[in-house]
């Protein structure tokens, strides 16, 4: 480590440039990871808040909440306990004079079931009748206020906002919580035998006792949200490629520096300096460069998170960022392995001649 630090401090410009490259990559990885987490969160915030372990949908709905419809007959043997809650979901556009239109996800729920019971109200109160709704606080950010009467789709009936709830987004759209009756009205299914879109259960092994219904684990249900897996896979690939790029950068730079310094390493070997000490030097250098890059990259990310506009879906998952940092450090060690091998096998005779 002694040689590693001395060389870095002596060759400040050279090593600053390498660190700058690592900072940029780390920063990009952290921001992408933040966007990935933020977007993933906006897909699943509402589902996460319910705390359900499984979802029952119509088996022909292709695990799509929008497409699922459960009838009263299908649900007659469902045996709903206090661990189950019926959901009626419909995509809607909310309008109110003087405020921007909001493409939203209407979620009809029953007041006596666990989703409604556990719903956390940031301001206002819960829904008491079919003409009241509780909305995600994005509405508040966009200028909607408690008491506003909003129009949903082209229905003439209006719904009054009686409360705001935080972090209620489903498939990136802000959620409007209302009653199941309101959901039926929105879907044009009043006076029909529509029961709901899905049954959420806190029981992993819940059985709805109907061959037309199918139970999915919550993880599988989430993975099948439209665009969710594709979006996450894209981000994962980008982060993976950046990790590989960081590996290549550190390997190439250290290799070039090592090749330039081979005569010095050869002399040190001739003087009896153990190869292990020199290998530790290159490994130490790599770890110092990566650690410096990661720390500066993290600081820049923190600064960015303070300055980024509220609407940008970015969220930082500290354990995940820590794992990425460890991964980058590991890449540094792997990247240093090639130059380390070069040092370990340097032949002092070459520099002396012979």
């Amino acid at each position: 480590m002694y040689l590693a630090l001395k060389e870095i401090f002596h060759e400040k410009l050279r090593y600053s440039l390498i660190i700058a490259m690592i900072v940029l990559i780390t920063y990009l990885i952290f921001i992408l990871s933040g966007l990935s987490t933020g977007l993933a969160g906006e897909n699943t915030q509402a589902i996460d808040s319910w705390g359900a372990k499984s979802m029952v949908l119509n088996k022909d709905a292709n695990v799509n909440l929008n497409q699922s419809l459960i009838t009263d007959r299908q649900a007659e043997d469902a045996n709903l306990t206090n661990r189950e809650a019926v959901i009626g979901q419909a995509p809607v556009v909310a309008k109110h004079q003087g405020s921007p239109k909001e493409s939203s996800s209407f979620v009809g729920i029953k007041n006596d079931q666990f989703i409604a019971k556990n719903l956390k109200i940031a301001s206002g109160h819960k829904v008491h009748n079919n003409r009241q709704v509780v909305v995600d606080d994005q509405f508040k950010s966009d200028g909607y206020r408690i008491g506003d009467k909003i129009q949903l789709n082209s229905l003439s009936d209006k719904y009054q906002i009686v409360g705001f709830t935080k972090d209620a987004k489903l498939n990136v759209a802000p959620v409007i919580y209302g009653t199941l009756s309101a959901w039926k009205q929105l879907r044009g299914m009043e006076n029909t035998n529509a029961f709901g879109s899905a049954i959420a259960s806190k029981n992993v092994n819940y059985n709805a006792n109907n061959s037309q219904l199918k139970k999915y684990s919550i993880a599988y249900f989430i993975s099948k949200l439209p665009g969710y897996s594709a979006q996450n896979t894209t981000f994962d690939f980008m982060i993976g490629f950046l990790m590989i790029i960081s590996l290549i950068i550190i390997a190439v730079f250290l290799y070039i520096l090592t090749v330039q310094a081979l005569p010095t390493y050869a002399v040190l070997r001739a003087q009896g300096i153990p190869a292990a000490a020199l290998v530790r030097t290159i490994m130490g250098q790599s770890l110092i460069l990566m650690a410096a890059g990661i720390i500066i990259g993290a600081a820049l990310t923190l600064l960015t998170s303070r300055m980024i506009p509220i609407g940008v879906p970015i969220a930082f998952n500290v354990p995940m960022l820590s794992m990425i940092s460890v991964g980058l450090l590991f890449m540094g060690v792997v990247g240093a392995a090639i130059p380390a091998r070069k040092i370990a096998t340097v032949d002092p005779v070459q520099v002396i001649g012979g």
Binding site: A270, G272, I352, G353, G354
Partner: protein, 235 residues
């Protein structure tokens, strides 16, 4: 008594028709206090001789004995230890780590080998003796050729070896500096009681030698002490 001895050393490179016999039955020894100069033109095999003597290469046949121990019995790590503790190398170039100040060159050795080095006072005396005490905060790139060579000698001596092997220590030095370096090695052998072996094509160093050998086409012979002022083996 010899501290280093080479017995019937032969060295071949290559195989088959490309096989080259680089060293022929070399017999050589050096005792503490000796300054031995091995002269020879480029390609004569003197660097091979030096690397075999220092345990950097193994001979094809024969034996190298350092302080009574055959080097062939040592594994790679033990040979590293031998060079770190008992053999000091002074090389033509790159002898010093370019990003370490002069004082840090010694500090680095101390970090690798904490015991058996010169003490603080002994190092100061050595630096004074070599006239480099004012250079301790300089980087190798800020030193002249002669200063670099003196620092390299100090660095080799810091680990307190019994044997000092020098490869072309006067390369690129003018005549005045060659005399200076020659005197320095002579003092090093006598005052510090080291066995000093210099391989060089610079015959001017023969003036300072207790014993001179000549290598020609891989064959070593004792050279009679003559005072040669011209550099006979220009490479």
């Amino acid at each position: 008594m010899s501290v280093i001895e080479l017995k019937n050393i032969n060295k071949y490179f290559g195989t088959g028709t490309a096989k080259v016999h680089v060293l022929h039955d070399i017999n050589f020894s050096a005792a503490k206090g000796d300054l031995i100069v091995v002269v020879g033109p480029s390609g004569s095999g003197k660097s091979t001789f030096l690397t075999i003597a220092g345990g950097l290469q193994t001979p094809s046949s024969g034996e190298v004995i350092v302080e009574g121990k055959p080097v062939s019995e040592l594994n790679k790590k033990q040979r590293d230890k031998l060079r770190l503790n008992q053999v000091g190398f002074v090389l033509q170039s790159y002898s010093l780590v370019p990003y370490l100040r002069v004082k840090e060159q010694f500090e680095f050795v101390r970090k690798i080998k904490p015991n058996g080095n010169l003490g603080h006072e002994e190092l100061e005396n050595l630096l004074n003796e070599l006239g480099i005490e004012s250079l301790v905060n300089k980087y190798p790139g800020q030193l002249s050729g002669g200063q670099t060579q003196r620092v390299a000698i100090a660095r080799a001596l810091y680990a307190n070896p019994e044997i000092v092997l020098a490869d072309e220590p006067t390369a690129a030095l003018d005549s005045a500096r060659v005399i200076e370096v020659g005197k320095m090695f002579k003092e090093l052998a006598e005052r510090h009681n080291k066995a000093v072996v210099i391989v060089t094509h610079d015959t001017r160093l023969m003036d300072f030698a207790d014993q001179t050998y000549e290598i020609l086409d891989g064959r070593m012979s004792v050279r009679k002490p003559t005072h040669i002022t011209n550099n006979q083996f220009e490479s």
